[in-house]
Subunit: 332 residues, 2 copies
DNA sequence: GCCGGATGTGGATACGTTTTCATGAATCTC
DNA sequence: GAGATTCATGAAAACGTATCCACATCCGGC
């Protein structure tokens, strides 16, 4: 008994079994072209009998493209990107498309490598949370693959379809809420790549007549360590601040942790509001007030966009929602 | 200007430019076989000049296998699987191997579909957190692909290499810790697929001379809703219990939430210990005592295993660690 | 009864790569 | 120096599919 020799059944075997040509089998199975009911029947029966599954390899080579979609996220450990990925998978799997995933760690170099890798695999549809500048994506576009950006747009590539959250409104809502509670010295813990939100933050403060204190705008990298360092540094350096807006769940986590370590009590000593609603926000003490973002939806919509490449699609902006829990109080 | 006509540069182009045969180019670029320094130089120069990237499509078809590895997890939203995935990606990316991911939702049917899909793509290396029984995997093994199971072994496939946590010791450590605090009515919130842990739980109790109360062993599905229902039901039905061991972070989350809703105070009214250390365990009030599992390591090791298919590898068991925080106290 | 079009069918080709095989040259062995 | 061995090399054959093209058949219209 040959243990590993099992040559896979090919379209040729089916053609032989059905006593037709390979071309006919291909047509029947892929639904294209015409075939008489009788032959169709024969082919289908033969295929079923032989348990035939067309080889994606042959098809891909012939079509000069790999089916499926590539997905590039900064960090799969971050629940936000976890949910985004989940959305992508939900859509892709229901469409029968495989998904190739890669993590960039928010490093443009890794991003470039991954793009190259996708190009090599002839993946022609990509969803990415971009971290490099527009230049990175040159080779991708030149090779003709269709890209959808998620979460963030990328400067210099404004005409690429994207699915983003309404940062402007989200930030404004948060700032107005805090200001309404009497806060004036509000810090923004942000991550690199959130230029949009930082701008919105400045605008929102300005609109309320609060002068922007640049020292209160802190930027961290997309790691837990960096986020914690930023939060702790901020708290120690500026104990006079009364409220913090965290630009993502990693930053919120860091803020809660740092506040805990320094014995800042929330919300008595400091008010805290975080972008992105995550399950643990409810378990916190006190439960965290958040600006929720539809992460899963974002992934799903991005997948839809990249799959229906036919119609030209503009960028989609998804709404945020303020969910008030217990981490914000009046200015002390 | 042709916008989309950019025929990709093939090995043939390189051969022409370097004035050698395609075979030589292939040999030089793939490092196999011999070539004179002079020709090697020529080929390399030509390849660089033309910015040539070999097509994975052609190679895959020729080799009759797709590079890269398939990854099947129940739920990418669960941080445990997120970290596991991260580990797989870390190893795979450093080896230059693409990763195709799919989520099963712990549904054997979806699992079977995904296996079929991987088969169709001729992916020959798979890492899976299995949910179906051994039968599901018949086609996969028959097709000769190499599989590594992660987190859970599957009954009937004991000779398949796997990377699992030391459930036995982990559970025993937790139970002994709780028993040492005086607890006797200890519940186990488990998930389907954790038969191993349930058995260990029974054994650990028996070893301590505690009679097993079957009503205190609850099984949930791998969703937040199911986990919450199980936890809340348990608390309401058996208010006499004094300690709970949660078999995973989703179940722990549910337990914390349910305890909060029912105004059970932790650890005064009830002690809580959870499998899997997650970032929010530290943010909780009180911070959660956990049995940590090296999720990322698990993924990395699994990837290593599936990539070095050469040596026959047995299953790897990774240790757990009890991290005492503040969610367990003496029996009330 | 002939023609034009529609329809069903299969042979042949191309996709880009790796690998086998044969050939010729060069080096080694005694 | 003749035979044997190694080495570098390119032509050609696969891998499994989709599609182009040519051919055959059939049908309705005149």
């Amino acid at each position: 008994m040959k243990v590993s020799g099992q040559r896979r059944t090919t379209i040729k075997d089916v053609a032989e079994a059905a006593e037709v040509g390979v071309a006919t089998v291909s047509r029947v199975l892929s639904g294209t072209g015409s075939a008489s009911p009788a032959t169709r029947e024969k082919v289908l029966a033969a295929a079923a009998r032989l348990d035939y599954r067309p080889s994606a390899l042959g098809r891909n080579l012939r079509r000069q493209r790999t089916g499926g979609i590539g997905l590039l996220v900064p960090d799969i450990t971050d629940t936000f990107y976890g949910r985004l990925t989940d959305g992508v998978l939900a859509c892709a799997q229901s469409a029968g498309e495989p998904v190739m995933i890669g993590t960039t760690g928010d490093d443009p170099e890794r991003e470039a490598e991954l793009i190259g890798s996708l190009l090599e695999e002839s993946v022609e549809r990509v969803i990415a949370v971009p971290c490099g500048d527009g230049e990175m994506w040159g080779p991708a576009f030149r090779a003709g693959l269709s890209v959808v950006f998620a979460e963030r747009p990328v400067q210099g590539r404004e005409n690429v379809p994207s699915v983003v959250t309404d940062d402007r409104t989200g930030v404004r809502t948060a700032v107005e809420y805090l200001a309404g509670l009497g806060h004036r010295r509000i810090a923004f813990l942000s991550r690199h790549g959130q230029a949009q939100r930082v701008r919105a933050f400045r605008e929102a403060l300005a609109a309320l007549g609060v002068t922007v204190d640049e020292e209160l705008i802190v930027r961290a990298h997309a790691t837990r360590d960096s986020a914690y360092a930023a939060a702790a540094g901020l708290f120690q350096h500026r104990p006079d601040l009364t409220a913090v807006l965290a630009g993502g769940n990693l930053l919120g986590e860091a803020a809660v942790l740092a506040a805990k370590e320094l014995d800042f009590r929330v919300p008595r000593d400091i008010s805290l509001i975080m972008f992105d609603d995550v399950p643990w926000a409810e378990l916190c003490h006190p439960p965290l007030t958040v600006i929720s973002q539809p992460a899963q939806d974002m992934g799903y919509r991005a997948a839809e966009l990249v799959l229906r490449e036919g119609r030209r699609s503009r960028t989609v902006t998804l709404p945020t929602e303020l969910i008030v829990r217990g981490s914000c109080g009046p200015r002390r």
